[in-house]
């Protein structure tokens, strides 16, 4: 498996209510071991997956939001958030967890993993992906 493909994981659903978000994150983490070119997109209610201060105590189900913070350590550092989805929900970048990675090509400088993109830019990213997972 020497070929490197562009993997795009598209998250469209809220973090709780259904299991798609959590099981999607499990694929991203496992997939990171395959040394492919990985991007993760958050659109529609999927933008809620990255919201700050998630608390599932009252729901009685597992809060997995801290796991997103580990993505940088797995070299998953291209997280694309659709601007239109944020706008439609009255959210801004300040409402999201700060997610960073250490850039090995820049003396391990800490950099932001989150990139806010327009739906047009996202469509272009999708078009240039080899493998697109929908969750």
């Amino acid at each position: 498996m020497s070929d490197i493909k562009k993997f795009m994981y598209v998250n469209r659903k809220a973090p709780y209510g259904t299991i798609y978000a959590w099981e999607s994150l499990e694929v991203v983490l496992i997939g990171a071991a395959f040394e492919q070119d990985v991007s993760v997109a958050f659109v529609d209610d999927g933008v809620y997956q990255l919201i700050k201060g998630q608390d599932t105590t009252e729901l009685g189900i597992k809060n997995f939001s801290a796991t997103y913070k580990a993505l940088g350590d797995y070299d998953v550092n291209k997280l694309y958030i659709e601007k239109e989805s944020l706008d439609a929900r009255g959210l801004t970048l300040d409402d999201l967890m700060p997610l960073t990675y250490e850039d090995e090509n820049d003396n391990w400088a800490e950099k932001n993993s989150i990139r806010v993109v327009s739906s047009q830019e996202l469509a272009e990213l999708f078009e240039h992906s080899d493998v697109l997972f929908n969750f």
Binding site: E23, E26, A33, V131, F133
Partner: protein, 130 residues
Amino acid sequence: MKFAIQVNEGPYNHEASVSALNFTKAALEAGHEIFRVFFYHDGVNNGTRFTSPPQDDINIAGSWSELADQHGIDLVICVAAAQRRGIVDEGEQERQGKDGNNIASGFRISGLGQLVEAGIQSERLIVFGD
């Protein structure tokens, strides 16, 4: 063309698994290769042999088994998703100390790496689900 198929929904509640089944059959009939069918989320419920739908209804798990038998296609159930939902093969029965197993013939339980590998090895990955 070499296809990988991902099935994200359980049988009956959602049309995704029947659509995946139809797509897989059509692709094989057209001479394409199915590298693997990977069952994830509630899709793992396609792989129990304990379903017994009414006679005038489609037997979805049975149809997958039949397809695997006829064409030797690789039907893989995600182990983590299966453990949450009670899909058990002999190995899992032993490991988890269960009193039986329910996996349908032609299916096997394995890790998520099989899904990622299918994405790498195939020319197209088709996802069936919501």
